[in-house]
Amino acid sequence: MEMILANTVLGVLLVLGLGAAGTAIGFGILGGKFLEGSARQPELAPKLQGSMFLVAGLIDAVTMIGIGIGMWFTFANPFTAALGG
């Protein structure tokens, strides 16, 4: 039982940490490209900004799904439930 709880904690931390790392890198690249693009063509900046937010929402997606699963494992652990815990 303790093994399951301990491993669940580590699993959740990996999900959250790697998700955060991936999202941060993705947003960094996205923001950088946006800045580059608007520096080259300032009149396109509003359009680019709209598309930037759209892609930002998409990058967030799997990370958020991971957070949802992480919270599920933390507060309603299905593995301990399967053990009858």
Binding site: F53, L54, A56, G57, L58, D60, A61, V62, T63, M64, I65, G66, I67, G68, M71, F75, A76, N77, T80, A81
Partner: protein
């Protein structure tokens, strides 16, 4: 999980303050109405009762709030539409026009075919999801506690759960995304024929001799659309709400500035997720209308 809920029940009955775990579990539970194996059709009093009701149980609280917000949105826009005046637009009419023009611009640039459903559909999706998401900014205990007190005093229903943000219920978000998915399939088959639709799955991106490989790529892509659409919205809002709960339960008085900081972050996420849902609907429906390319 069972012991937590039992402890919460016992603690509440003895008038003790809930622990952090009990508080969070209570606030993450839905008001579920379903067919319990022992109690018949009733509201669940504990999370295990709710789980025992199985799949076909209704989360009455989120259903009610989503219908209420949807009806409020429709009524509000309808009334403004009826009284719209070209010469003397009021502030409210300007606001509604702003929203409609915003959605219209997105649909016009993203959807290149003739379909009268898409504009109103995207307006509804955007504003309804926006309204449902904005419920997350109401402090966690205000409405929930009032409801709990009401249920305990009038119906002797102790410790009633009540979630006010419908989009934190995966049922609601998957309902929205599955509706969009059925529309995608319907319009794909209507515009391309069932042969065209299946052909697109089987013969793209490589030729017909690579059919199994094409199917391995195309079928998960097709099913990833509704799943990611629904879970993206759910995950974002669930994480936001959970963070509000954690701040509320763990920080004592320091929760007030912390709530403010997180709310400022969350105010970006709320319209962004509504916008992303709407944009993806436009993109998917546009793909559904695009005629199959013949090589």
């Amino acid at each position: 999980m069972a012991e937590l809920a039992d402890a919460a029940h016992a603690a509440a009955e003895h008038g003790a303050d809930p622990t952090v775990q009990e508080y969070i579990t209570h606030h993450l539970s839905f008001l579920t109405f379903g067919n319990h194996p022992e109690h018949g059709w009733s509201l669940a009093h504990t999370p295990e009762e709710a789980a025992e009701m199985g799949f076909w149980a209704f989360n009455v609280d989120t259903l009610g709030w989503s219908i209420f917000l949807g009806a409020a949105f429709l009524l509000f826009f309808y009334r403004v539409g009826k009284k719209a005046s070209v010469s003397t637009p009021g502030g409210v009419q300007n606001f509604v026009e702003m929203v409609v023009e915003f959605v219209d611009a997105r649909v016009t640039e993203g959807f290149n075919y003739k379909n009268e459903l898409v504009g109103p559909l995207c307006l509804t999706l955007f504003f309804w999801i926006l309204l449902m998401n904005t419920m997350d900014l109401v402090p966690v205990d205000w409405i929930t506690r009032l409801f709990e007190i009401f249920m305990a005093s009038v119906f002797h229903f102790e410790h009633a759960p009540f979630k006010i943000v419908p989009t934190t219920d995966p049922n609601i978000t998957m309902g929205l995304s599955l509706s969009v998915f059925f529309m995608i399939i319907y319009y794909s088959i209507k515009n391309k024929g069932i042969g065209g639709f299946l052909g697109e799955l089987a013969f793209h991106p490589f030729g017909k001799w690579m059919m199994p490989f094409n199917l391995i790529i195309e079928v998960p892509t097709l099913f990833a659309k509704p799943i990611s659409l629904g879970l993206r919205l759910f995950g974002n809002l669930y994480a936001g709400e959970l963070l509000f709960l954690l701040i509320a339960s763990m920080l004592g008085l320091w929760q007030l500035p912390a709530h403010f900081v997180w709310a400022v972050f969350h105010i970006l996420v709320i319209p962004l997720q509504a916008f992303v849902f709407m944009m993806l609907t436009i993109v998917y429906l546009n793909q559904a209308h695009t005629p199959v390319e013949h090589h």
